[in-house]
Symmetry: C2
């Protein structure tokens, strides 16, 4: 029984490249705790204009972070939305001021369960308060105010990022011009909770998790976290994409080996996904962030009525789903559209035909790019933003 | 860190209620090993008629066993196909002689990795040969011959049982009058291999798995096996069924607890599925049987041509799928129908509308019952079987 110590965990409290903002006043969380002081780690791209009207907040997904458009400081991999961000890109850094913050509870610089609890001198571990999507957004709002931005031109994100977008539009409608939830939902489904619970149980079942105190005890539940990631990763793809990419192709062999090695390419791929994830992600963060997603239910916050989550809504919405996304299927986006129609909101809805599954929002998907480009241009015109550029 | 010892594992080599047949001559397996002697544990219901023409072989699924229509000897739960089997039932025990054998590699009496290897005096563990669906069927063929049955009236099964049905029809077409593969496929898909690999990695990641030697060392990888079962169990249901049964309902509480307890009913249900499974199933058997399913590819056995798997086919087929089954979707059954049409086989195909997902074959599904009843009646008439009853 070997204990794997991941690079991430060799560096508790390490300062990652980028900005950080210390929230000194305690923040009242949904669980009732007043939490703070805490740190928000964030990245920016482009420049804020004089009117402070060109800011775009990008919200990352469960396993994402603030390194949207630059090499990841641990893995060296390209930023997760380099497809969108850059000069002349859909999120044009010559025009917009892009902000992305690591979520509260995360593990890339924002305070989360792996950071040290000043009261004990040890990592928070399970003493970290359980946070919600609304708590994440409350923290982001403090950051935006700190940056002197009263109104965001756009809030955009996929998957858990879409949940944050919707929470922004619901909690702070006066602070959002355009809201773009991609491959999202107004509430986490029973099936999605079930998959998250499998991942959490895989982590908790790992003896190296040590009741959550693995950092203090010098362990790392890498095997459990890898299994959790493997299970989740299947849900990010589609059956068609898996068939197209791997089918039943064998991995570096001409015949099955009649054993338990990774005979099939798809097995090898999944193992790789699991083993690389543990190098950059904290197991307790995985517990906390999946829990935040499970708890997300915008209608429940408003007496069971989803339209009531968007009273007197001001933002313009662009809701995007993917045909082969079975984790956040189009039906979830349609439910959102119906609720927004019920409050006479300004809503565009596009279902994009693709076989790439949920992860399509991270991939080269020309129809996604064209949709975003057109929607943002329309919002900029509506907002009169063009005259502030260049 | 506690070690859970499951009831199953307290009784290695225990004789379970029912029949057993010892195969004394070695069986040549697909992996090239001549394996034997070995035991096949099986159950029967009803009586074989004088002409030995009323035998129905029932093939069980991954987590099933031979206790089709009687309480399970470990859990006491009702047999897994009591919905179909009994006097006057679809599988009428006043008419048919029903046989179900625990598969080779299983853990309910048929020789598998938890039985003792006579060469070492210890459980086989990973020294057990990797078996295939075809090997399981070869063993069943020996049992059928032992029972003096030359031709089975019907071979029927769901999921992995359907794979065995198809293998029977391909390997021994002259020995099968009617073949009923339910919720099956002629090959395991990339996505299904991926889910199996997650389950295997969950088991292997459990330190109590001990490189497979847990029985000899007095351990039991119950936590890993439970996680594997939880992940698999989600795939047996549909998103709609999970939503209908559980939705976001809370478990014995009025509000979320802001913790990692099973706040949601779906979490509690999944944990229960995991924890009860380990009482009756052997972790190494889970590895071997999932591997056999992964390796299944009837076309590959015949130069890549699925029609070539059914040359001069004699059996009458009734192929059944369920609309909400995303593990073995209707498209897989359609591919089978097309292949059988290409060799002019006698094929009925029914896609049953249900929201119950893959597990529909185990549940109360009136259209399934009516379909089976009608098909079997037609086959019996064709076979002139009616005059032998009563």
């Amino acid at each position: 029984m070997s204990t794997v110590t991941a690079p991430l965990l060799k560096r508790p409290g390490k300062e990652w490249p980028g900005h950080s903002f210390i929230v000194s006043e305690p923040l009242r969380l949904d669980c009732g705790i007043d939490f703070g002081p805490f740190t928000i780690a964030y990245q920016t791209y482009g420049r804020l204009n004089a009117e402070r009207s060109n800011a775009v907040l990008i919200c990352h997904a469960l396993s994402g972070d603030q390194y949207v458009a630059e090499p990841h400081p641990i893995t060296g991999a390209a930023g997760w939305w380099t497809t969108l961000v850059g000069p002349g890109g859909v999120l044009d850094t010559d025009r917009y001021f892009l902000i992305c913050a690591n979520v509260l509870g995360g593990c890339m610089g924002t305070t989360g369960p792996k950071e040290v609890n000043p009261a004990t001198g040890e990592p928070w571990a399970l003493n970290f308060p359980v946070i919600t999507i609304r708590d994440m957004v409350r923290a982001q709002k403090l950051l935006i105010e700190h940056l002197g931005i009263e109104k965001l031109f756009c809030v955009m994100g996929g998957s858990m990022g879409a949940m944050q977008v919707l929470q922004w539009a619901s909690s702070y409608p006066e602070s959002v011009v355009a809201a773009v939830p991609i491959a999202g939902s107004a509430r986490h489904s029973a099936q999605n909770i079930a998959f998250h619970e499998v991942g959490r149980q895989a982590i908790i079942a790992d003896p190296d998790w040590c009741g959550g105190r693995y950092l203090s005890l010098g362990h790392n539940p890498a095997r459990g976290l890898a299994v959790a990631r493997m299970a989740a990763h299947i849900t990010y793809l589609s059956e068609a994409a898996l068939h197209r990419k791997f089918g039943r192709n064998l991995q570096d062999r001409n015949a099955v080996t009649y054993g338990f090695d990774a005979d099939f390419q798809v097995e090898s791929y999944l193992r790789h996904q699991g083993s690389t994830f543990v190098d950059r992600f904290d197991a307790n963060s995985y517990l906390y962030i999946t829990r935040a997603m499970d708890y997300f239910d915008l209608a429940a916050e408003h007496g069971g009525s989803l339209p009531a989550a968007f009273p007197g809504t001001q933002p313009r919405f662009c809701i995007i789903s993917f045909t082969s996304d079975w984790l956040f299927p189009t039906s979830e986006s349609r439910a959102l559209v119906h609720a927004l129609n019920a409050v006479a909101a300004n809503v565009s809805f596009v279902e994009i035909e693709t076989d790439k599954g949920h992860d399509a929002f991270l991939l080269h998907e020309p129809e996604l790019f064209a949709t975003l480009r057109g929607f943002l241009a329309g919002c900029a015109e509506h907002r009169g933003l063009t005259r502030f550029w260049g």
